[in-house]
Symmetry: C2
């Protein structure tokens, strides 16, 4: 990145970041499943229709990975993100079928300073992934560690 | 699958399934990150060394996807799995670096019948992914829905 768009200070509770929509193809679903989750309903249209998912359906972990890319585009790219220690919640609420167009948003739940690393803040987000009918297909609540903006004092100390 | 290895009845609390070990290469880490999580520490060795991760490190979602594949090989393949509504916990506790060999196991926490679908049971698992030093790199607790074995009565009714 050339320019920092967001530092910890930008992630105030309630702030929302919208996702850019993306259509998931059968080829993408099958490619992910072949590598990571080769259950029949993720590999084959017929097997998907015979399952409770009702069609060729993305692995839940594929939906999560697509959500990660949407988060990257929405706010992580160009931010001071230092990654995540994990997620508190990851629900796959509805099937994601081949041809579905995913969108949605994430919102800041809360943000606090790290006790052990004063240059870092801890931001909790809730993300909701929706389909083309506006139905929520996945929900996640997770933590993102973000560096604070450099302080004037620190800038001088290094200047 | 040709033969059903496991039905709901096999998943008794405390039963453990070991993972087959797998080494994660730099190419695999970069390929996943390019598609789903293109943060610099997941794409580039230098950027990884400059980050708190200490080297070219897999996206947490990549580690989770690899865990999914390990679960598939350990017990889902050949089972009556009907998928998962989500995970209660997904922690990425230590960096997974290029060349690390992952292993670990999952264990059944509890199992109960579904109230709404009597042919289905709900099994909760805890999975721990370890590296070649025996350190836990990821932990997940999640639900897997499993069909019960066909009852004698049901078999006769269809016979």
């Amino acid at each position: 990145m050339d320019v920092t768009r967001y530092t910890f200070e930008d992630f105030t509770p309630g702030r929302r970041f919208d996702f850019v929509e993306r259509t998931l193809t059968a080829d993408e679903i099958i490619a992910f499943a072949t590598e990571f989750d080769p259950q029949p309903m993720h590999l084959d249209e017929e097997a998907g229709r015979a399952s409770i998912l009702g069609g060729l359906a993305a692995s839940g972990w594929h939906t999560s990975a697509v959500m990660m890319r949407m988060l990257y585009e929405a706010y992580i790219n160009g931010s001071t993100s230092e990654g995540s220690p994990g997620v508190d919640l990851m629900e796959w609420k509805r099937p994601v079928l081949a041809g579905d167009t995913l969108g949605g948003h994430c919102v800041v739940l809360d943000a606090r300073a790290s006790r052990s690393r004063p240059e870092i803040g801890i931001v909790r987000f809730r993300a909701e992934v929706t389909n083309q009918r506006g139905e929520i297909v996945a929900v996640s609540e997770y933590i993102n560690m973000m560096r604070l903006a450099p302080s004037e004092g620190a800038a001088h100390a290094h200047g």
